[in-house]
Symmetry: C2
Subunit: 257 residues, 2 copies
Amino acid sequence: MSGKVVGRLLGAGDGRLSGLGAAICEGVAPLLGDGSRMVGVARTAGGLTSTEGQVKKASAKVEFIPVVLDLGVASKADMENALKSAFGGANVPSPSRVLIFHNAGSLGSLKYLKDQVDQQHVQHSVVTLNALFMGMVRSLAPSAAIEVINISSLCAVQPFKSWGLYCAGKAGRDMLFKVLAAEEPNVTVLNYAPGPLDNDMQMIARTETADDGLRSVFSSMKNEGKLLPCSTSVGKLIDILNSKKFKSGDHVDYYDE
Amino acid sequence: MSGKVVGRLLGAGDGRLSGLGAAICEGVAPLLGDGSRMVGVARTAGGLTSTEGQVKKASAKVEFIPVVLDLGVASKADMENALKSAFGGANVPSPSRVLIFHNAGSLGSLKYLKDQVDQQHVQHSVVTLNALFMGMVRSLAPSAAIEVINISSLCAVQPFKSWGLYCAGKAGRDMLFKVLAAEEPNVTVLNYAPGPLDNDMQMIARTETADDGLRSVFSSMKNEGKLLPCSTSVGKLIDILNSKKFKSGDHVDYYDE
């Protein structure tokens, strides 16, 4: 992902742009070539504005395009319009490499399954977004190398008490991206589990997890300084992407190897 | 699952009660003791009526209680009322063993992910139903042995082209039941992949699967007589439950061992 390799970059993340999402933008920016574009998608404008500042500081070569969109409720037309306004226009140069980061971090309810009687499981429109995005990239740049990175979790492969909805969501998401890898042999797909991050999500995990044992594990990790800075995990993610040692569709954890 | 072991049985399946769901009811009925209750939950009454007839033929000892309920849209109150009317009443004897079968077989759209731009992923209220059901069973029969069987699929562990939504749903569902197994050490949970069944679902698979290669695999299996009768797969499921050789939460396939 050196400046020489990357001609232009189009990037999109979903969810709130803070914590890991912002760290991905900040960490990737310095590696991009002149004229690269980075599109940040988030539910609210606040995080996007601060992320734009971080990206500008990290690299003067990258244009950051903020898109406010709640993928939990956005329609196909909403997404299409947002993507067109971000990537459209005759003056947009054709990208040679495209990275799409999916970072949907919503924890949902952290209760035991037996107590989940009023849960509503929000479905993110990740499939629709991917379909629209890839269609658009292909019409703009038929020969662009596309890499799709799904921010996964240890919860995708291991059950955790009182985290049932989150685990199920992450497991289903991983499989969705495995299918994408099978369907699209020219797209590189990575399910990356970033490790336990020192971010807002972990703060919620420490306080709201219903299971006493798991909640105290989260507290201990914080107290013993075992949580990872988001930037550290992003560094590892970039190493993994550059190493190309994974098979498209694989689940790779921060702690692997 | 002999008549001696099972005192009473309460069973619930979700989805349309036909094919595998009906075969489960029919296959399990002869193994149940006198006074057992079997509750069938389905979206429409038609399949329930024919299943009731099959169960009566299979065993005179079992009372079949049809419940028409669409779990895709049912509220918590709908489910609670349906369960109460099926299991309530002072004259209902306390069960010693309870089996819950989850058989949600909706295939959804069988298109490539890149073409899935208008999909709506229906979330079955499996979590809510389980929570209500287990709460009710425990108040009725605190010492009943509870077994929960999720009808899973090879699609839960292996990606198939143009089956992305189904694969993701099954993978997520498997994980949900793994978490249930972790949370409830006194409940036995099995994720059972029934193999390729000679049922309506396979007919849809043969005709509607977008991926040419996969569609022709399905056709070949049908033409070469490799699809399993539902009753054969149910027989294997009963063997697995009786053998107790699996660990609670495991994914076990018809072809395993």
